[in-house]
């Protein structure tokens, strides 16, 4: 079998991969969403309760993930941290997605000046290293998660717009859009009912991988002191907290990192499942 033939997956293989990735995503993401929603009931302790008796305790039967330098239970903090880090995935992805999709639709459909201006803005924005620009904006506006979301909305939308624009450029020449134009539908109706639904699928796939990036960048900001502020239980902040105690108490850093990796993996599996759904099948 040649490489080229192999590239188009056989339906059975695609379905297995879809089922595997989908199930893995469901378990991991479902677990985290459950933990985040019901954190006060799931977590064994109050995440902010400090205890002189339990300082820097190693993982044990009463504290599965150990305790930090002021005696807080790491497991409880990791569970409560899921609230913040999942929220980052949602609030860090949705505004750029909405802004970008709108601009991409208009720019790709109407072309002309809007499109020319957008392409210039795109070129300029991607000239800056993404993380540096976000970091600079957050740092100047002032540390905190709200400003992180603002920075992402300012910087992140261009990628979505570029993606949607490319889809729309193809769709606007498609027969059903031409037919809708001939039938005299307004541009508004054509854009919302005919173009948008068909342009959305690559956007959603990209949004899932973007969520991993946004979560990791947000945790990095927390680590650098620019994101969520202590004593908030956020995974990046917790890792920063533990860095000074790494030689005596590795568990303070270790478990929040594992949590971030598992959430990233869950999102990656979701992305893979969505990509399988979109992939052409050889009949």
């Amino acid at each position: 079998m040649t490489a080229a033939e192999n590239h188009m997956a056989a339906p059975e293989r695609r379905n297995w991969r879809l089922a595997g990735s989908g199930l893995a995503a469901l378990l991991i993401l479902g677990g985290w969403i459950f933990a985040a929603l019901f954190a006060p009931w799931v977590a064994p302790y109050d995440p902010d309760a400090i205890g002189m008796m339990t300082m820097l305790g190693a993982p044990s039967a009463s504290h599965w993930f150990g305790t930090d330098q002021v005696g807080r239970d790491i497991l409880s903090r990791v569970i409560h941290g899921a609230r913040v880090d999942l929220l980052m995935c949602v609030l860090g992805v949705l505004p750029p997605l909405i802004i970008g999709t709108t601009v991409g639709l208009l720019s790709g459909y109407f072309r002309g000046l809007t499109d020319a201006v957008f392409m210039r803005v795109y070129d300029i924005t991607v000239a800056f290293p993404f993380f540096v620009l976000v970091l600079a904006i957050v740092g100047l506006l002032g540390p905190g998660l709200t400003n992180y979301f603002i920075a992402l909305a300012i910087v992140g939308w261009v990628t979505y717009a570029r993606l949607v624009r490319a889809e729309v450029l193809v769709l606007r020449e498609s027969e059903y859009v031409l037919a809708a134009q001939v039938l005299g539908f307004s541009n508004r109706v054509i854009l919302l009912n005919h173009v948008l639904p068909n342009a959305l699928s690559p956007v959603i796939t990209y949004a899932v991988s973007d969520a991993v990036l946004v979560m990791l960048a947000g945790a990095s900001l927390g680590f650098l002191g620019m994101g969520a502020q202590p004593p908030t239980a956020e995974w990046g902040v917790m890792i920063a907290d533990g860095q000074s105690f790494i030689d005596q108490a590795w568990w303070i850093c270790f478990f929040p990192g594992i949590a971030a990796i598992s959430l990233g993996l869950g999102l990656a599996f979701l992305g893979d499942a969505l990509a399988q759904l979109r992939r052409p099948v050889r009949s």
Partner: protein, 312 residues
Amino acid sequence: MSHLRSILNRLLQLIPVLIGISVISFLLLRLAPGDPVRLLVGDRASPETIAAVRQQYGLDLPLPLQFLRYVSNVLQGDLGLSLRFQRPVAELIGQFMGPTLFLAGYVVVLTVPPTLLLAVAAAKRPGGFIDQLIRFLGIMGLSIPVFWLGIMMARFFGAELGWFPVSGYGQTFTAHLHHLFLPAVSISIWLIPVLTQSLRQALIERSAADFITAARAQGASEREIFWRHMLPNAILPTFNLLGVMVALIIGSTVIVESVYAVPGLGRLLIAALMGRDYYVVQGLTLVFALVTVAITLIIDIISTFIDPRVEL
């Protein structure tokens, strides 16, 4: 001739980008809450001092004029003054640049060979076991927070085993190699998966190309096709990867330099953000963008020489 024209064309396209970059880095300072003069002179300055400083820095001028002034300063190599160090920003950047350049080069050296090997191995049989394995490892690598990996490796290979220093930069070339090994590996582990996937895709697209089919029809063995036709065609996409890498490397050096206390530009940026040393932030953001643009440009131009069909 056509080379020259397309390069010239590419340079022309650069002008709006450069203007845009300077506008953004200029406006960046306006994001900071409060009066910039207050930041320069402190809270207890008299109104006269404030007025004097405002005039000295040209902050009493209308915004467009301030911008022109900024651009003309930048063109003369003047990026402003660091409030904390009381030294020109350009001078500071020059001083802190060495470790970051070294680290970036180190990352490229550690990243490109494994990326090429993994992508080639994965593209040989797309969908096969090795491809799936590499894809899974890639997903793992992408999900690891770089700073966490850095801390864990410092603890294990540094503190536990004592193989590598966990902070600093060292004095000699070999000391640099030794000190920056863990920082460079932390970045590479995250970078290799990103690049492997895109190179794999490029390789698979090439393997479906007509000339492969033609070679196959002429009876060339799969082995021969791979080494004589597919691999040489992978050089250009690999080379283009370098352009993609620049921005990613710059972003991750900021994080990794903080973890390993490397005295580079990333540490300077974080220190400046913490200390509200705004001209340093502005200068660094501008320099990072200019470096990204310059390297992308150089790679694009070299690409046209490797493959004359490439359009800029």
